[in-house]
């Protein structure tokens, strides 16, 4: 195996944090692909340009996604990475794995690919980096025979992702993992057969802390919320204060709607004005708890591209019950997709189409009534303009 000098990459091994260079070097001891990856990457750093070619017609028969074609533009110099396709494996909801299953996938990956992985990609999938074209079908056969499947890519539904939800988190207002799995199973066709103008992502968070960053990354964000009051355990509030928490500064003054007050050691919440942002509950978990009916808010339209044009999600349904079989939600999703598919140009995400066509026509098309909670942001300019004569000489 050819030994590459990598002085620039070596810099990235320094420091106490994990290093991808360290990991590639470990893999390079037994993989020619990983070894040549090191060589090409060093050359990229030295020449300050990339040597990857992207895209093309690689994939497995019948599927339109799950494999992202990647070729080296220097195949003679680095034959090990001449083909270096990425394979996305649909992660289990909440990313819970049994060790045996992980070992199975990674053993297969050592056999058919470079051995390099990205756990996990920003879409949520388990990402296997570096596969030759001729190894794709055998790898796919092995992976699927063990109950796994490819994730989404291209103009398709991307692999739905969720936070750990009720599996590990007491704040979860909905069963995120169940909904994520339900959508994944229900929309298999949309995941594997790209039919749309561009990608579409679901991300599901159990509460407004939004550990899965749905509000910034998902075309459709589902965020758990509740309708009842926040129950306050005043004794626990006192304990937080006794433990050094500045309740006024850290909790009350940070409340975005100013619906809290703290006086005489007692914390009060005006629940009617609470926006369920989760700040207070996440800071005082032992003292505060959401009560009453649980469900989710549905938001639409965010995207986080690499260069420009990022959008945040926009509330379209402030509260919806989110329980199996999720019919109300999936019927809404079908209408959203139909409108988007009818109106989008190639490579237009749904948030962009809403910007062009307007939220009004979108809401009309999907049959959702306008509501105050759908306001994207409060207006900064006034609706009413005073005339000179209204001011009675005062300015």
């Amino acid at each position: 195996m050819k030994k590459y000098e990598t002085p620039l990459l070596d810099e990235l091994e320094k420091g106490p944090w994990p290093s991808f260079v360290k990991e590639i070097k470990k893999a390079a001891k037994k993989s020619e692909m990983a070894n040549d990856e090191l060589g090409q990457l060093e050359k990229s750093y030295r020449d300050r340009r990339g040597y990857w070619k992207h895209g093309g017609i690689v994939g497995v028969l019948g599927y339109g996604g799950g494999v992202i074609g990647r070729y080296s533009s220097l195949p003679t110099e680095f034959p090990g990475v001449a083909h270096f396709h990425t394979v996305r494996i649909n992660q289990p909801s909440g990313m819970f794995y049994k060790t045996d299953d992980l070992r199975t996938i990674l053993d297969l990956w050592d056999e058919y690919g470079s051995g390099l992985t990205n756990m996990h990609g920003s879409t949520g999938d388990m990402v296997l980096l570096g596969c030759r074209t001729e190894a794709l079908e055998p790898l796919f056969a092995e992976v699927t025979s063990r109950g796994w499947d490819l994730g989404g890519s291209g103009s398709a539904l991307r692999t739905p992702a969720c936070c750990v939800g009720k599996a590990r988190c007491e704040w979860a207002n909905i069963d995120t993992m169940d909904l994520c799995n339900h959508l994944t199973q229900m929309y298999q066709d949309y995941l594997h057969r790209p039919a749309w103008p561009y990608k579409f992502k679901f991300k599901i968070a159990g509460c407004a802390v939004d550990c899965v960053a749905s509000i910034a990354r998902a075309d459709c964000s589902v965020i758990g919320t509740w309708k009842g009051k926040i129950a306050v355990d005043q004794a626990a509030v006192k304990n937080y204060a006794k433990g050094g928490m500045d309740v006024q500064a850290e909790i009350v003054d940070m409340c975005p709607t100013g619906c809290m007050s703290y006086s005489g050691g007692e914390l009060k919440i005006d629940d009617a004005n609470c926006s369920r942002c989760m700040h207070c509950i996440s800071k005082m978990t032992k003292a505060l708890k959401a009560t009453g009916e649980k469900g989710a808010s549905i938001l639409i339209g965010s995207k986080a591209p690499i260069v420009v044009g990022s959008l945040l999600s926009w509330v379209i349904v402030p509260f919806i019950k989110m329980e199996p079989p999720y019919t109300e939600f999936t019927e809404l999703v079908d209408k959203i997709w139909e409108w988007w598919d009818d109106n989008a140009k190639p490579r237009e995400r749904i948030g962009e189409v809403i910007e062009v066509k307007g939220m009004r026509s979108f809401l009309e098309a999907i049959g959702v009534e306008p509501q105050a909670q759908q306001v994207y942001e409060p207006r900064k300019d006034p609706f009413f303009f005073w005339k000179e004569e209204d001011l009675n000489g005062n300015k």
Binding site: I57, G154, S155, A195, Y198, R347
Partner: protein, 82 residues
């Protein structure tokens, strides 16, 4: 219309667009459905059966996917021709 005949129509539709337009699934379903008076669902099923056996294939470029006639290289790679 017999399935084979419908699939030939789909193939001809895709072939006619080759080099001119990247066809999405929906373009094919709408176009062939209008041409043949077959239901969109029938066209979709027939088209997907063609994709499953490699008579058509999904392609990808510039961030979006399309349906195309497979190249010889693709068919060879999938073991469909020698």
């Amino acid at each position: 219309m017999e399935l084979a005949e419908l699939q030939d129509k789909i193939y001809a539709f895709v072939q006619a667009a080759k080099g001119k337009k990247k066809l999405k699934e929906k373009d094919i379903i709408k176009g062939v459905s209008a041409e043949t008076s077959e239901t969109p669902d029938n066209v979709k099923k027939a088209m997907r059966a063609m994709i499953d056996v490699g008579r058509l294939m999904y392609s990808y470029g510039g961030g979006s996917s399309s349906v195309e006639i497979p190249s010889e290289e693709y068919l060879r790679e999938k073991g469909m021709i020698k």
